[in-house]
């Protein structure tokens, strides 16, 4: 099937400093893809660049196609239709993504007017339906409340309702549960999966927690220092991780079920974008390092073609 989003050789540099070194990825309709990696590895920047949300000083190159249509050098009017419409994004901190001085119902109605051309009454009815869909009780009354009157988990539900208002083909959820308690995290992850089943939209879940991604997603992309180092179906990734960084991440994840053992920590720290080593960026922390790692960055190549497992 034709992918809904196709990103080819996406590169981003801030003030001449490259932070994304050529990312290729494609998202199929209705699929759930996880993006994992540590802070600063390029997970979020990939989507901010794709949607033209980076500041002026960022230089972007490559190609981002949404259903065949190029977004990277598209005019603002075209991007306005895409953002919040065909591709919606939700973030870690819902309270700062919502406008504190407007009623939440009005904020959702605004999206419905902009992207679906709904009039006042139709927008209100639709907003109420969306509130019901994301599980906010007493929707009719709560539409007139302000963001501070809701809890963190409810605000994230409102953000999800707002993201759904434009009937997106793709929902990008960037660390959607990181600021929430574990019981509320379970509620939100359940809600995202349920909505994905109901609407058939694709879900991209960005998280630093392999556990969350492993539970929600079918396919996982592992990022390190601005590159994808491994890509595989989720079961395959946990059973046969290929890249030493992926193995390190899995080994560093404490578990509730495995017999208790010492965590296999990855030594050292992630190199900063300003002093990235030549060759493979992971070499300095890698157990399997050989001499030529300092010269070449290994390209992503297929480990197993039939299940789409690729590793650098």
């Amino acid at each position: 099937m034709e992918p809904i989003v196709e990103i080819v050789d996406l590169r981003v540099a801030f003030d001449g400093l490259p932070v994304l070194h050529g990312v290729d990825l494609s998202i199929r309709r209705g699929e759930s893809v996880g993006m994992v990696g540590e802070s600063g590895c390029g997970k979020s920047v990939t989507w901010l660049a794709a949607l033209g949300l980076l500041p002026q000083r960022a230089r972007t190159a490559g190609s981002v196609r949404l259903a065949g249509e190029e977004l990277l050098r598209a005019p603002a009017s075209c991007l306005d239709k895409v953002r919040g419409g065909r591709i919606a994004m939700i973030f870690q901190d819902p309270a700062s993504a919502l406008n504190p001085v407007h009623k939440v119902g009005d904020q959702i109605a605004e999206v419905l007017r902009l992207h679906r051309g709904l009039e006042r009454h139709a927008a209100k009815a639709e907003a109420r339906r969306l509130f019901d869909q994301v599980g906010i009780p007493d929707a009719a009354r709560r539409l007139d409340a302000y963001p501070h009157e809701f809890s963190g988990g409810q605000n994230q539900r409102i953000m999800i309702a707002m993201a759904l208002a434009g009937r997106p083909d793709v929902l990008i959820a960037d660390e959607p549960t990181t600021a929430l308690d574990v019981t509320i995290q379970a509620q939100i992850l359940e809600l995202l999966q349920q909505i994905q089943r109901e609407t058939g939209m694709a879900l991209v879940l960005i998280s630093h927690d392999l556990g969350i991604v492993g539970e929600v997603c079918e396919r996982v992309l592992v990022f390190y220092a601005g590159r994808i180092v491994e890509e595989a179906p989720v079961d395959r990734l946990f059973a046969h991780p290929s890249h030493p960084y992926t193995r390190g991440l899995i080994g560093a994840l404490p578990s509730l079920e495995r017999p208790q053992r010492r965590l296999s920590a990855i030594p050292g720290v992630v190199p900063s974008a300003a002093d990235l080593p030549s060759g493979c960026a992971f070499a300095a922390r890698c157990e399997l390092r050989v001499e030529r790692c300092a010269q070449w960055a290994v390209e992503l190549s297929s480990v197993s073609v039939d299940c789409g497992h690729k590793a650098a």
Binding site: V182, Q185, Q187, V213, E215, D235, G251, E257
Partner: protein, 319 residues
């Protein structure tokens, strides 16, 4: 007779007054509401629960940074003296605390070495050359290099800063460290390094630890026993593996089942509603509005902490 436990807290209560607006009526927040616990030498107790359950207040009470409104704390057989008292200051060489944000805990204008030596200076331990020697040993203990002593906090990575904070906490060779979310702000690969370091330190020094965290996976990795808190009370307590494998209290069960497990789509108990507001504590068992097993009686009577077959104690629902 057995030696006294290292730390014993009985019936701790800490209430805060919360005022709504300038003229609004004030409400009572019962942050800690009748909490008892016991810690043996060299033992690690994990304290888990949602935000607002009173974990951090408990930690602050246990090291004497706050006075309980009721209840007693005994450390090594002696009652906890009031904060600022000479005896309390002496006691502080034996109890230390580590917080979530290492940058906030360090002074940005002092070198790491100076700050690690600070507890030694304050408590007048050793002469000048001994202190410098001790700083080097402490740096090595937490996996930092001697040249890190001359650096400033902003020159270190997040993981290195947390190591520096740990080195400072270890300077006086304490018997107890209270760690409040010590790895929550760190990246996964760095988090594993610091957890391993804490595990090594407690083994090597036979130091007791209270480990406060919202992450059950991390708590299990380091704790001998776990206490689950809900709205200022312990609802279940027992050996880590027993509590996590076979939780008795419906709240512990929901917490355990909420932990994401990769590639494992299982049936889970998803709690309805939000973490409760400590200023509006439900009557009876505080958990009853969210409890999947609640009975009418639960709204009236607080269940007692009961011992179960394997030594795990829990406030069980009425049967």
């Amino acid at each position: 007779m057995m030696a006294a436990p290292l730390l014993q807290a009985d019936g701790l209560v800490r209430h805060y007054r919360l005022r709504h607006g300038t003229f609004g009526h004030s409400a009572m927040v019962r942050a800690v509401d009748g909490l008892s616990l016991l810690l043996e030498r060299g033992e690690t107790l994990g304290l888990v629960g949602e935000s607002g359950c009173g974990k951090s207040t408990t930690g602050r009470l246990l090291i004497g940074l706050e006075r309980p409104d009721a209840g007693t704390i005994n450390f090594a057989g002696e009652t906890m003296p009031p904060e600022g008292h000479a005896r309390w200051r002496r006691l502080r060489t034996r109890i230390q605390m580590v917080f979530q944000d290492p940058l906030g805990a360090l002074n940005r204008r002092l070198t790491v070495g100076t700050q690690i030596a600070e507890p030694l200076d304050i408590h007048r331990l050793g002469c000048k050359s001994e202190r410098a020697e001790r700083v080097n040993v402490l740096l090595a203990d937490v996996g930092l290099r001697p040249d890190h002593a001359a650096r400033y906090p902003h020159e270190l990575s997040g993981g290195q800063r947390q190591r520096a904070v740990l080195a400072r906490a270890l300077a006086t060779d304490p018997d107890l460290i209270v760690c409040d979310e010590p790895v929550s702000a760190l990246n996964v690969s760095i988090q594993a390094q610091v957890i391993n370091l804490l595990a090594d330190l407690k083994d090597r020094r036979r130091m007791a630890m209270i480990f406060i965290s919202h992450d059950l996976r991390v708590v299990r990795q380091i704790s001998d026993r776990i206490a689950v808190m809900y709205l200022g009370r312990i609802v279940e307590e027992g050996l880590s593996d027993l509590v996590l494998r076979d939780p008795l209290h419906p709240y512990s069960r929901a917490l355990v089942s909420a932990v994401p497990v990769p590639g494992h789509r299982r049936e889970r108990t998803i709690l309805r509603g939000d973490p409760p507001n400590p200023a509006a504590r439900p009557s009876g068992c505080a958990f009853h509005p969210r409890c999947p097993a609640a009975l009418p009686l639960c709204a009236q009577i607080v269940p007692e902490l009961r011992l179960s077959r394997n030594g795990t104690a829990g406030r069980l629902p009425h049967r």
